[in-house]
């Protein structure tokens, strides 16, 4: 009855936003959320957010932890761990206790980690970094 997702939901998944729907507005959940479709507005939960490869998010995300494999245009704030897979594309700022980034992931924005009050570190995509390096060499 249930389709095979590219991100298998965990046992306590509360919400599944599938690839055939578009969600608009302020989504507030209490458990784990799997997203494979489109979300615009904001996405907030006390649990984990898993963004699939086909998902497009135009929203700020706030969660306990997150795993991103799709596209996010917006800021991501997690109190624990943030995982970016090789297909992730983030256009926004990140705040997390810890971050893991697989080679291939693209991240354009600022990153604040460890729950400290340190100034966020400005980062850019691999392509932009290469361009900046080339400019400096010249």
């Amino acid at each position: 009855m249930f389709k095979n997702s590219d991100i298998p939901p965990s046992a306590d998944t509360e919400t599944i936003i599938g690839s055939t729907v578009k969600v608009e507005g302020d989504f507030v959940g209490k458990g784990n959320i799997v997203v494979e479709g489109e979300v615009s507005g904001s996405l907030k939960t006390d649990g984990e957010v898993r963004i699939g490869t086909r998902a497009t998010i135009n929203a700020n995300i706030s969660a306990a932890s997150a795993m991103i494999a799709g596209t996010v245009h917006g800021n991501i704030s997690v109190s624990e761990r943030l995982d970016l897979t090789e297909t992730a594309l983030i256009d926004g700022d990140i705040t997390a206790k810890s971050v893991s980034m697989t080679p291939g992931a693209v991240f354009n924005g600022k990153c604040a980690m460890g729950g400290s009050s340190k100034q966020p570190v400005q980062t850019s995509s691999y392509k932009n970094a290469k361009k900046e390096e080339a400019t400096e060499d010249n």
Binding site: M1, F2, K3, P8, P9, S10, A11, D12, T13, E14, T15, I16, I17, G18, S19, T20, V21, K22, V23, E24, G25, D26, F27, V28, G29, G37, E38, G41
Partner: protein
């Protein structure tokens, strides 16, 4: 005091012997009571309402899902419990509540294990299982905070209170559709059209669309379903019967129904 409400199908000759066995078993267990028959000339809602007014504490539906659906609203807000003796086809409610077929159900009635379950409320009507819309041109507003719209053709949007799950359902999904959790589940399910069905369609023998997967699930307490096409209403199927048209508002009515359940219940 018991009321046994017989479905119209009970009059069918093929059920004659089963009914005799059921009535004997009820007498043996000392839980026999008044018998009323649902026919095309009688309204089961009124029969149940009158019986409860006269002091009936247990209303037993002897029949299938459609009989049960037709009397739910009369039981809400009363102290009467719903019992079921499944007879005939369409027994998904009895399966969910763990009621065995025919005279074996009498022992479950006698054991009288009571559970309070949630109902769905659509406009002013209560439902047990689901309300569905077979259209893509709809928008649903969940708990007043966000909207959900299908973006692909051929899908069904439903709001479930509970639902029978196949045995191979993955553990990750088993906690959904629980009628005692105080929430409803809004689902979007793309409809599959097989090659066989396309061939049958050519010959005018199209089968009902098969739901091949659940795409999205949203836990909600209140939801509004409306058409995205101006001035167009879409039929809403409530507990398997076309009953209303969009726009509709659906909300959960927690712990609203007292039911007698069996050991094999699915929640």
């Amino acid at each position: 005091m018991y009321l046994y409400l017989y479905d119209a199908l009970v009059g069918d000759k093929k059920h004659e012997k089963t009914i005799v066995r059921i009535e004997h078993r009820l007498t043996d267990l000392g839980i026999n009571g008044r018998i009323a028959r649902s026919t095309i000339l009688t309204n089961p809602k009124i029969i149940v309402r009158d019986a409860i007014r006269r002091g009936v504490k247990t209303v037993v539906a002897v029949g299938g899902d459609s009989l049960i659906h037709s009397i739910i609203t009369s039981l809400v807000g009363t102290d009467a419990a719903l019992g079921i003796i499944p007879l005939g086809d369409n027994q998904s409610l009895a399966n969910i509540l763990g009621i065995p077929k025919n005279e074996a159900a009498c022992d479950v009635l006698s054991a009288r294990k009571i559970e309070y379950i949630d109902l769905g409320k659509i406009n002013n009507t209560y439902f047990l299982t689901s309300a569905s819309v077979l259209s893509d041109a709809i928008k649903i507003t969940c708990d007043g905070n966000f909207t959900v719209q299908p973006v692909k053709k051929k899908s069904q949007t439903s709001v479930y209170n509970f639902r029978e799950m196949p045995d191979d359902t993955p553990p990750a999904y088993r906690h959904f559709f629980n009628p005692q959790d105080g929430i409803l589940e809004a689902t979007i399910e793309p409809l599959g059209f097989s090659l066989t069905n396309n061939i049958l369609k050519t010959f005018g023998k199209e089968r009902s669309p098969k739901i091949d997967r659940i795409d999205s699930i949203f836990p909600i307490k209140k939801v509004r379903i409306e058409s995205t096409e101006p001035d167009k209403s879409i039929p809403v199927i409530v507990d398997g019967q076309p009953m209303l048209e969009t726009p509709v508002t659906i909300e959960v009515a927690p712990q609203k129904l007292k039911v007698i359940v069996g050991k094999g219940r699915l929640f």
